[in-house]
């Protein structure tokens, strides 16, 4: 078993192993769904042109490539890389990503369509800036200037997007 050079590579090898297993599962699922896909016999189509033909090949290819990645990552995985991966998943960096994602999901799935677009966009921009300039920042900025900046950019960003797209370019917004 060859050892990765750095802890970052070890973590990636472990993450690759997990991903590769998921890819193999996906490949097998694609093969199954392609095999059981309607062959359109009633329409007397040529068996070489069935809709499931290409997906079947792709499923097989994904299973093979995924398996090869499993082997490669297995060979590279170093002792302790699992713990390092867990450490990374529960790090400050991951939290920042999750907060961005959370805000994006609330805006896209929660606010949009329930209120005018400019207001939803403004609220999202405001919350994003305030959070990342204060709570989520390494060196937090003073709260009052952060709030004022966030308010200003939210008004310009939300209102500006609405005005440019809906009024000037006549694109309907959600």
């Amino acid at each position: 078993m060859s050892m990765p050079d750095t802890s970052e590579e070890a973590v990636r090898a472990r993450a690759d192993l997990i991903t590769a297993c998921l890819l193999v599962a996906l490949g097998v699922a694609v093969v199954y769904f392609s095999w059981t896909m309607d062959r359109l016999e009633v329409r007397r189509i040529n068996p070489a042109t069935i809709p499931g033909l290409v997906p079947l090949f792709l499923g097989i290819a994904l299973t093979i490539c995924g398996s090869l990645l499993v082997l490669r990552s297995w060979k590279l995985s170093a002792p302790g890389s699992g713990a390092l991966l867990l450490q990374l998943l529960f790090s400050w960096t991951s939290l920042r990503v999750l907060v961005v994602l959370g805000l994006a999901l609330v805006f896209t799935l929660g606010l949009m369509g329930r209120m005018p677009f400019w207001l939803a966009a403004g609220l999202f921009i405001f919350a994003f800036i305030v959070l990342f300039e204060t709570v989520m920042a390494d060196t937090p900025k003073p709260i009052v200037p952060a709030l004022l900046w966030a308010l200003g950019i939210a008004a310009v960003g939300g209102g500006g997007t609405y005005y440019v797209f809906e009024r000037i370019f006549l694109v309907r917004l959600p």
Binding site: A48, P51, V54, A61, L62, A121, E133
Partner: protein, 508 residues
């Protein structure tokens, strides 16, 4: 020959109107800003701008997108030089010598060299675009289903091979995933619904624009906001405009890098970053002072910037003639062309011959605008770098939502953007390249349709796929590419070639 020159003249004249020039100015400036801001890529910029060009005339829309594309690829060199962070992935090689030059107090000169070499690189690419595209287009008219099937597969395989930084395997997997995404929805041969699982919205398949906005927009936002550290900007105190002597002493490097960039651009889906790195490596190998590379070599910076910009123009060759995108951004351009009623591919030169030369004219105008703005607005662009990403990324996400929604006005497309953003971020974190994924989505239908159409023509006999001359050649290249990505095979094959070369050298 003269027909081409006349058409090129007509193409340039077509855009010499106040409206077109206005579009060139704002789109190039916007492209430069996108390139300068770390975390925003050329592909993301082009994908977001498609929405804004939706109501424009087709030629003006493509002109705008082309200016954004070229501007962003060039603009990224500023960030590479002043911050040591590539503005776009294409500028990663420029950091190696650009930033050390800036630290030596030559930031202005570095930016000037990057500007002029980018311009020259684009010009080399444009030259080959004007020459090769009509010839390739004519040749492509003889292609049948068999050849197009192999070409689509070639695009995905070669893109996977060349962009998989960790291992080609990851590139191949990204390509297969892209092809699988393209399988979702109604297939074109028998109008059968595949992998829709009873969800009506999936019947129309996955639209490329929301997928790209997610993979290059939301994924970029997540990557950018993940980082906490902010780099310091190097001050610019020296002159920006280089002398002719400073440029032309590297004429060999410029021509070599331009040709390498053009070659890389022609290969489907490989993109600017590979063009830049290949040119840099070749320049280092050929240089009289390879030891200076990585420590502030002007030659290294020129090679990197010439190479990536040559790719932009050359990427238009397969994009326009074969409908095979030469880069990820070119894939978005194909989608934009289709939205505007322009059908890239072998029939383009038959249906709309002037469009190819209009594209050449667009690239010329965009290059000229880049040169003028690049050399004159240095101080303004440095100010752009000081915009905090917290304030920028929030607005960019709103634009991602608008960009995904506006084209078909379905909330489903916004969900597609979200899905591809999250998956794209995770894949990117694990060093899976995005270009083969995108190429897979674009080429999936071409591959599927041509394989089954070819089999239908021969009543299920696959022989013509292997016996027709062009098909056989492309098939052999694909097989060789895949075999060479297997370490045990390449280890055995490489010495054979080096031994052969050694013998030839000895005989010579």
């Amino acid at each position: 020959m003269f027909d081409g020159l006349v058409l090129l003249g007509a193409g340039v004249a077509h855009f010499l109107t106040p409206g077109s020039l206005f579009n060139v100015v704002w789109a190039t400036l916007l492209g430069l800003v996108i390139g300068i801001l770390p975390g925003l890529t050329a592909t993301m910029g082009v994908a977001l701008l498609v929405t804004l060009t939706y109501k424009m005339q087709a030629d003006q829309a493509i002109l705008t997108l082309m200016c954004v594309y070229l501007g962003a690829i060039y603009g990224g060199s500023r960030t590479a030089i002043l911050l040591n962070i590539p503005g776009t992935p294409a500028n990663a090689a420029a950091t190696l010598d650009g930033h050390p030059l800036a630290l030596q107090g030559k930031a202005g000169l570095a930016m000037g060299l990057a500007t002029t070499s980018s311009t020259l690189g684009t010009l080399v690419g444009i030259f080959f675009l004007a020459i090769i595209a009509p010839i390739l287009s004519e040749a492509a008219l003889k292609f049948g289903s068999y050849e197009f099937f192999w070409l689509a597969l070639f695009g995905v395989v070669i893109s996977g091979q060349m962009t998989g930084s960790d291992t080609p395997l990851k590139g191949y997997i990204a390509g297969i995933l892209g092809l699988l995404v393209a399988m979702v929805g109604m297939e074109t041969l028998h109008a059968h619904q595949r992998f829709t699982f009873g969800i009506p919205a999936l019947g129309g398949g996955v639209d490329i624009i929301p997928a790209m906005v997610g993979a290059f927009g939301l994924a970029e936002i997540l990557s950018s906001m993940k980082r906490t550290a902010v780099a310091n900007i190097v001050p610019v105190n020296d002159r920006v405009v280089p002398t002719l002597r400073e440029i032309f002493q590297y004429w060999k490097t410029i021509i070599r890098s331009g040709i390498i960039g053009t070659f890389v651009g022609i290969i489907p889906g490989v993109g600017e970053d590979v063009g830049s790195w290949s040119s840099y490596a070749a320049a280092k190998k050929a240089s009289k002072h390879p030891e200076e590379f990585g420590k502030g070599s002007q030659e290294g910076l020129i090679a990197a910037e010439t190479g990536d910009n040559a790719v932009v123009s050359a990427a238009m060759i397969p994009t326009l003639t074969l409908a095979l995108p030469g880069s990820a951004a070119a894939a978005v351009l194909i989608a934009a062309m289709l939205i505007h009623g322009i059908r890239p591919g072998p029939m383009l030169m038959v249906e709309n011959p002037i469009f190819l030369y209009q594209v050449v004219a667009m690239l010329l105008l965009a290059t000229l605008a880049n040169l003028i703005f690049g050399l004159s607005l240095t101080k303004v662009f440095i100010k752009v770098l000081s915009v905090p990403r917290e304030r920028l990324m929030a607005v960019i996400y709103v634009l991602c939502v608008v960009g995904s929604f506006a084209i078909t006005q379905r909330l489903f497309d916004v969900y597609v953007m979200l899905f591809f953003g999250i998956v794209g971020f995770l894949l990117r974190e694990m060093k899976f390249p995005m270009a083969p994924l995108v190429l897979g989505i674009v080429l999936g239908d071409l591959l599927d349709l041509n394989l089954r159409r070819g089999l239908m023509l021969t009543n299920g006999d696959p022989t013509p796929f292997f016996t027709r001359p062009i098909s056989a050649v492309i098939c052999l290249i694909i097989v060789a590419t895949i075999l060479m990505s297997i370490p045990s095979v390449s280890k055995r094959v490489r010495p054979l070639f080096s031994r052969g070369r050694g013998t030839a050298d000895a005989q010579g």
